[in-house]
């Protein structure tokens, strides 16, 4: 849950990158750490195994001046994707404000993606939350691979609902779509503090109220 400190004029927001093992969650944070230049950024912390697999979480803190009169501190976390670390994923979700679900575009990883998305919803319930309450954004990662699943297939599988989530194509390893995904999630969270809030913004951003790019392109919103 967002923490507002009126004394230091600071808002802290927690965004969690979720998704199956090796889908690119940590790569998103590594790329952000390199790409972000204007926001004040902290050190990237990775609690990983010797083989660079996330064991507990990765953490990156970004301070911005987006809201008038307030410093906004975005606390970015990843969860460990491997199935054996489910308890750890539940712990990392504690106090979450926004979620970026990273989908691996490999055909052969679809079952893992679906399982992870279901697991996310189960773990939110464990934390007395749901995707209706928590703003989330989808990122279709690894769009540069030759056998990437088509976007319309991914949209049908992960975004086939009345209120569609914002979805972005990305290649996290090169940086394409990484900042766009984070900014979409950040804007959804910040919109909660608007004097003229969009009534649908607390959960999923509806297609009509959030600008989307007209074309489906890497790094852009999925039309």
């Amino acid at each position: 849950m967002a923490f507002i400190n009126y004394s230091s004029r600071e808002i802290q927001l927690k965004i969690v990158y979720y998704g199956p093992a090796l889908c690119g969650k940590t790569t998103n944070l590594i790329t952000l750490h390199e790409q972000v230049t204007h926001a004040q950024k902290g050190e990237l912390v990775s609690l990983a195994t010797d083989a660079d697999r996330t064991l507990f979480f990765d953490f990156l803190s970004l301070n911005t001046k987006t809201l008038p009169g307030f410093t906004t501190r975005f606390q970015l976390y990843t969860v460990p994707g491997q199935s054996i670390y489910n308890t750890t994923r539940q712990l990392v979700l504690k106090g979450v404000d926004g979620i970026i679900f990273v989908v691996d575009s490999h055909w052969e990883r679809m079952a893992d993606n679906v399982e992870s998305f279901a697991n996310l919803q189960e773990n939110l319930v464990e934390n007395h939350l749901s995707l209706v309450q928590i703003p989330y954004v989808l990122q279709y990662n690894k769009r540069d691979i030759p056998n990437a699943a088509p976007i319309n297939y991914l949209e049908f599988t992960f975004n086939n609902r009345a209120n569609r989530a914002l979805a972005f194509e990305a290649v996290a390893s090169t940086g394409e779509g990484v900042l766009e995904t984070l900014n979409a999630c950040a804007r959804l969270l910040l919109a909660k503090y608007s004097k003229t809030p969009n009534s649908n913004v607390a959960g999923i951003a509806p297609t009509a109220s959030v600008p989307r790019s007209g074309a489906s392109m890497r790094g852009g919103a999925v039309a």
Binding site: F3, I4, S7, V36, F56, Q75, N183, A191
Partner: protein, 151 residues
């Protein structure tokens, strides 16, 4: 949500705790890893990272204890060579994190931490009751424009 008044009261409590216990640094952190208030000196350490790791460490150990059937788990102590950490559970999903060195000892820190815990719980309760009555934060702008929040 903390008002300036809450912040002052909590920092004053942390200052008092540090003075009595001779600990180096103390902070009020929530179990999601947010730093609410702090007092003392950690040099150039990034306090966001310290808070995130402390909350993660406490959560992992707490879960381990829970699975072992230990329901009264309320504090966690890490002993190092020169620096030690004591984490104490507070109400409202918060933690008191204390870093201390060789000037003091765990017995003294734990003793005063228990007193501070009780006082901090009182402040947290007051802040919580106030929060329920306060209007939510509302700012100009819709924040949904294409302007990048982070760049």
């Amino acid at each position: 949500m903390l008002t300036a008044e809450d912040q002052l009261a909590i920092e004053s409590q942390l200052n008092d705790f540090l003075r009595k216990s001779e600990a180096q640094w103390s902070a009020l952190v929530d179990k999601g890893g947010n730093l609410f208030a702090q007092s003392g000196n950690t040099g150039s350490l990034d306090l966001s990272i310290l808070s995130a790791l402390a909350a993660g460490s406490f959560a992992a150990t707490h879960e381990l204890a829970r699975r072992l059937g230990e329901s009264e788990f309320s504090a966690l102590y890490h002993e190092g060579h020169g620096h030690h950490i004591l984490m104490s559970a507070l109400h409202f999903e918060c933690l008191l994190v204390t870093v201390f060195g060789e000037r003091t000892n765990i017995g003294l820190v734990r003793f005063y931490a228990q007193q501070a815990t009780s006082a901090l719980n009182g402040h947290l309760r007051q802040a919580h009751e106030k929060e329920v009555r306060m209007d939510p934060l509302a700012l100009e702008g819709d924040f949904l424009s294409d302007t990048a929040a982070i760049s």
